[in-house]
Symmetry: C2
Subunit: 418 residues, 2 copies
């Protein structure tokens, strides 16, 4: 039975595995974590609304009824394209080669500091669950430390949050930190007033949410300002260190700079001997010169109507399903399906507890209605029914009580082992 | 206004804070984590049933309506008994002195390797949330690594779990690992059969659950054996390394030895200039020669009817409330309350999804009825209403689906920062 190896259990890889299930193939899905992460809600973990387990589903649990699918936890170190094998290393440092007849690379993106990797230490970004729990620890610890701080300038710097990058993640984080400090924590401190928290959202371009219509950028900025967020557009962050960052001409003293800007492709291209970056795929999503290797999701570069497709979950899922159709046609010697074509069902971003923006080719709207649509869609797309129910419950609970779901700091230094 | 400083936000410290709320005192509660941990359910986090946030409540959130209570995150480094001040160090390394009129030490216990601290690396124990999430990572990773392992002996060692210590934690962990492997993960693997997992529970004494009646120890052992757990009593663990442990005369190859045995007092006694260990308190729970300092909970040594009180939540909570009465009497120049007397409402331990043992002075019973009582009591004692609802929901869901709540591995090595 032909063997399909999928690398990456994100939206693209999981969609491919599901779509391939009914074909006469063996499937191996390899990921370096044991869970499918629902990235659009990662900012809610980082801001203590949801618990990690509510947005991360064990991949093997999701696929447990797929009897011909094997899930392996391991890190891909390379692809032997000549001999059709993936090289992986598992947690214990053991190396293994996994042969494939078809290979699907769905390895996504990491965040990028545009060459300034030294920023990473002072301005963490968020792509993995480990990142998000670390950012959560830092945000919650900032308030704890400010409560214990006696020096006024240091206390102010401790209560200043700067978000570098005004895309959806930056906008969502700014709104969530505003709510956390101004609503959820309102009564929790005695020495500081968390409502005095300063939140700065910096965007280098002329407006927030660049991919959206300018009127939605405008209403988002207005809503954020109403929540007490300082929105700075057209401003470059020129340096970051442990004491703050320089935004345009202004130095902002802050102990909490969070990176919500650029992303860079994972090393899939290097594995295929191509130049670094995204892999420019053909109409059937195969890699150039490698008809048995497909590249999908954020790591794929595909132009449609003269523009590259955005790195969003919908694109990855539609690509995963398309690859299954291509493989099916090859196995059955049928005519290949038509070239991949992305159907955009619309894009959303959310700000706090009752405002979102939505836009597709025909409609655009913002406000509470958009927020309700956003909530329903995000709940429906969670991978396990238990997650859908507990996230729904948490949101309803938090809407009425203004409390968060999980404000705990789990510091690895708190191991009690001697 | 007199100032009461409480060190430790566990069951004892929190009960004291709540009972002192109505008195004309200022209160400062200091803890080295930001959360009150519901320790009786820590084993459920370690075995992926519950998420950390479901059993850990931010202390300042719990006490947010206590207007005269300040919560500080910091580690106590010493007590200046002469000048009535506690010395603390906060997360940023800043030192602070907090003066007190009354001091309540409720600092609990750590686990103890009986002098063999080198065991800690190979046989982690569980007292903090950081411990429990690390044990969870190790248990879940054991199955992942076994699925990728080709060497048969190593695979078997990877699927062998040894629990050292047959008290409530050992019994509960053994039952939970049996369920995790034999029920929840039944369909999830392709190369290994998780139902072949070997689970060994070792107790040095003659029977499991030493504080309980022998008939309950017997029924617990029988129930565990029925779940496929090997129960070894009267066997000493004489060595532990990364490949396994020696139990009596037998070497058990295991990559997963978990320490569920002894505990040792936290350093409260040293702070008071007393000899290491628990602090032998007077009838009003004050430290010897220090009427303004009280020691409660697991770190206090108090004999009643010729026997020391056990280190359980009930004792700590009753002590916390008693201290509030003593302080009230002193402030109002009233007659002191009668000596502390512990009212034992009963003890429980639970094995898996439908068996528990219960015993108090009048009754003892085991089975499903005890399990239902156990479930209700544990839900009621969670610190926040949201936790009660989500834990209740998770248990109902898991009872019917046999699935766990949170089987994710969050490995700090998975930071995506460059």
């Amino acid at each position: 039975m032909p063997h399909v190896v999928i690398v990456g259990g994100g939206f693209g890889g999981l969609a491919a595995a599901r779509a391939l299930r009914s074909l006469p193939v063996r499937i191996t899905l390899i990921d370096k974590t044991n869970h499918h992460l629902f990235q659009p809600l990662l900012y809610q973990v980082a801001t203590a609304m949801l618990m990690p387990g509510q947005i991360a589903a064990p991949i093997r649990q999701v696929l447990r009824h797929h009897r011909r699918t094997t899930v392996l936890l391991g890190e891909v170190t390379g692809v032997d394209t000549r001999n059709h094998a993936v090289e992986i290393r598992t947690g214990e440092g053991r190396e293994e080669r996994v042969s494939y007849d078809f290979l699907v690379l769905a390895t996504g993106v990491q965040h990028s500091y545009f060459g300034k990797d030294e920023y990473a230490r002072h301005a963490p970004g968020m792509k993995t669950m480990a990142d998000a729990t670390m950012v959560r620890n830092r945000i919650l610890s900032a308030f704890e430390e400010a409560e214990g701080e006696t020096d006024e300038a240091r206390r102010r710097a401790g209560l200043t949050f700067v978000l570098v990058g005004g895309g959806p993640t930056g906008v969502e984080m700014a709104g969530a930190i505003a709510e956390l400090s101004r609503l959820s924590m309102r009564e929790d401190f005695r020495r500081i007033n968390p409502q005095e928290t300063r939140i700065v959202l910096v965007e280098a371009g002329p407006r927030l949410l660049p991919p959206f219509h300018p009127s939605l950028s405008e209403s988002t900025a207005r809503h954020l300002r109403g929540m007490g967020v300082e929105v700075m557009t057209g401003k470059l962050v020129s340096s970051i260190d442990e004491n703050g960052c320089r935004v345009g001409d202004e130095w902002i003293a802050s102990r909490n700079v969070i990176w919500t800007a650029g992303v860079a492709a994972s090393p899939a291209a290097e594995w295929l001997g191509l130049s670094k970056g995204k892999v420019r795929v053909r109409f059937d999503l195969s890699a150039p010169g490698r008809p048995e290797i497909f590249v999908i999701g954020d790591v794929a570069y595909y132009e449609q109507d003269g523009r590259p497709l955005p790195g969003v979950a919908q694109v990855a899922m539609q690509m995963g399903r398309h690859v299954a159709r291509v493989i099916q046609a090859r196995l059955l010697n049928n005519a290949p399906p038509p070239p991949f074509h992305y159907t955009d069902k619309g894009n959303m971003a959310v700000v706090g507890r009752d405002f979102a923006v939505f836009e597709n080719r025909r409609f655009k709207f913002s406000g509470r209605a958009a927020w309700l649509v956003w909530s329903m869609i995000h709940i429906l797309f969670l991978a396990l029914p238990n997650m859908r129910l507990t996230v729904f419950w948490q949101w309803v609970w938090s809407y009425f009580t203004e409390q968060r779901g999980s404000r705990i700091i789990v510091d690895p230094r708190n191991y009690s082992n001697p």
